[in-house]
């Protein structure tokens, strides 16, 4: 694909007084990505998305969507082909869902008016479309938010925690919808504090912690960066330990609960097994123990898995 990327943030900073909500964020979303913006609550995800959507001005740096900057070029130009929402999507409570959709279609220029019913059906709100949004549940508003975004026939969809506050069935449906939209060629950037969700949906991720990006790339690469830890059980632990210590590429050897633990790459482990065999030490178990994504994530985000209940007061 040619042309500027759907999202390109460069040195993005947002300060509220002394608080730095977003700190030198660089990230690039390529066409066709389902990009996960992962971090605990309050890490700066929403603030970043607000800057992308032109709702707030960056203190420093810039963000471009398909090469257009909401501050420099104005929201109308910069958001052409872009849709999404931050925090929970909001509508006029005193208007029906259909009227809200009509209003938004009119704000978009009116061309999409004919697609309103089709979209309400897609998010399964057709039966309640005449009801005032004031009486809608959180999940229904969330779905209406997706429908309202799709009204713009976006090439890029920015979704802020789209499954937060949904029940398990609602979460499953929302993820299925995101997958379906992505399969139709829409580039998606979704923020989440749920690792499993990002793992399930996204091909690339950026992990943000207290306003800073601590990792950007694929989840697979992230896993590969982790040094693998191995567990060894042998009939003569003490002799086995000596051999481990002597083996090149085997590091951080320690004895725990009658087992040996060490870190090594696969080549070194293969050599070690031969060395043990030659020394006639019977091996009863040699097991790789990769750090889980969860552990990596917790390590990167400072142990805060973000399982707190989200609060609306949060800056980000």
């Amino acid at each position: 694909m040619s042309g500027p990327p759907p999202v390109a943030a460069r040195g993005l900073v947002k300060r509220y007084g002394k608080i730095v909500a977003v700190d030198q964020v660089d990230l690039t979303v390529e066409p066709g990505d389902v990009f996960g913006y992962l971090g605990p609550n309050g890490a700066g995800k929403t603030t970043s998305l607000r800057m992308m959507l032109g709702l707030i001005r960056p203190t420093e740096g810039s963000v471009e969507l398909f090469g257009r900057d909401p501050v420099r070029d104005g929201a109308r130009k910069a958001l052409a082909g872009v849709a999404g929402f931050v925090e929970a999507p909001r509508f006029y409570p005193y208007l029906s869902a259909r009227k809200n959709m009509r209003l938004l279609a009119a704000y978009d220029g009116g061309q999409a008016r004919g697609r309103i019913d089709e979209l309400l059906e897609l998010v399964e709100l057709q039966d309640r479309a005449g009801d005032k949004v004031g009486g809608y549940s959180h999940g229904m508003r969330q779905r209406l938010g997706i429908a309202a975004s799709l009204l713009r026939s976006p090439r890029l969809l920015l979704l802020d925690e789209p499954t937060t506050g949904l029940d398990p069935a609602g979460m499953r449906d929302m993820r299925a919808l995101v997958r379906r939209l992505a399969s139709e060629g829409i580039t998606v950037l979704l923020s989440s504090h749920l690792l499993g969700e990002v793992e399930e949906l996204c091909n690339r991720v950026a992990i943000i912690r207290t306003g800073k990006i601590v990792y950007e790339g694929t989840l697979g690469d992230l896993l590969a960066t982790a040094t693998a830890e191995y567990r060894l059980r042998a009939v003569e632990p003490e002799r086995a330990r000596m051999i481990c210590l002597a083996q090149a590429g085997v590091e951080n050897v320690r004895a725990e609960d009658g087992e040996l633990r060490f870190q090594a790459d696969e080549e070194a482990v293969a050599a070690l097994s031969i060395a043990l065999g030659q020394a006639r030490i019977g091996v009863t178990a040699l097991v790789p123990e990769r750090a889980s994504l969860e552990e990596l994530f917790l390590g990167m985000t400072g142990g805060d898995s973000g399982d707190k209940t989200p609060t609306r007061e949060e800056v980000a």
Partner: protein, 268 residues
């Protein structure tokens, strides 16, 4: 631009406070006529008050006078103070600002819709007053402030002109309320604040020793229509109301516009 304006009107039409203001504006002249039907006295000290039982045409003029103190400022602020704040309150500002409209267009749509509402409440009040008064006392010729008789047809034209010039200071109050609404993001504070502003303007206008600035106070402009009811018409207060009110409207609107364009849209 027309789409934004049209949908601002739809929003106003879907909200209770719009009807509260409109209803109050229409109820006041009605109550006024009913009370005068059962009472012998009358508002003899106010412009045209002496002739109120001579013709229904006098009713809207007398109501314009009485409602300039707090009724119309309140009715205007009620909607103008809410028009931006309610979007903040409902969180819908972010919804509409991420569509294909510039912030300036959204703001302008809100200003025009607010001014439309303001004009509609004055016209509605005058219409109800005219009809109720006419039914009670007939549509007879009007006695002007200069003491001459004015035909019913001419009187109606004068009423229309008076409403138009009466709208100007109300637009000034609406602009102030809209500014508070944009800056404070709080509906109640904006309604109360702009009502206080209107009342303060009146308080200042009755202070002694301020004759020099009195013609330029907002409250004074509510009397500009008296110029039309003199024979020959006195255009000086009308012209002054036009430019003075433009300033009272333009300055807060310009300030609100800049704030609206630059503000960070976050959940409050």
């Amino acid at each position: 631009m027309t789409a934004v304006y049209r949908w601002e009107i739809v929003k106003l039409l879907a909200q209770k406070r719009t009807y509260l203001g409109l209803g109050a504006a229409m109820l006041v002249p009605l109550i006024f006529v009913v009370v005068l039907q059962f009472q012998s006295g009358g508002p003899n000290d106010v412009p045209l008050g002496r002739y109120i039982r001579d013709t229904g045409l006098a009713v809207p003029f007398v109501a314009l006078f009485f409602m300039s103190f707090w009724a119309f400022p309140l009715i205007t602020s009620l909607v103008a103070g809410d028009v931006v704040a309610s979007e903040s309150h409902n969180g819908t500002l972010k919804t509409i600002l991420t569509r294909s409209r510039e912030r300036g267009q959204v703001f302008l749509g809100k200003v025009l819709a607010t001014l439309t509402y303001t004009a509609v409440v004055v016209v509605a009040m005058a219409t109800v007053g005219l009809v109720a008064g006419g039914l009670a006392w007939g549509f007879n010729p009007l006695t002007s402030l200069s003491g001459t008789q004015v035909s019913t047809g001419h009187g109606l034209a004068l009423l229309a002109a008076s409403i138009a010039v009466y709208f100007l200071p109300l637009a000034g109050i609406a602009a102030f309320a809209l500014m508070l609404s944009t800056v404070t993001r709080n509906s109640a504070a904006s309604v109360v604040g702009s009502l206080m502003w209107a009342l303060l303007m009146q308080l200042i206008s009755v202070l002694p020793g301020i004759e020099g600035i009195r013609p330029y106070l907002l409250a004074t402009q509510f009397e500009a229509w008296h110029g039309f009811l003199r024979v020959p018409a006195d255009w000086a207060p009308v012209v002054r109301a036009a430019w003075v009110c433009s300033l009272y409207a333009f300055i807060p609107l310009a300030f609100a516009y800049v704030v609206f364009l630059r503000r960070d849209v976050t959940e409050d």
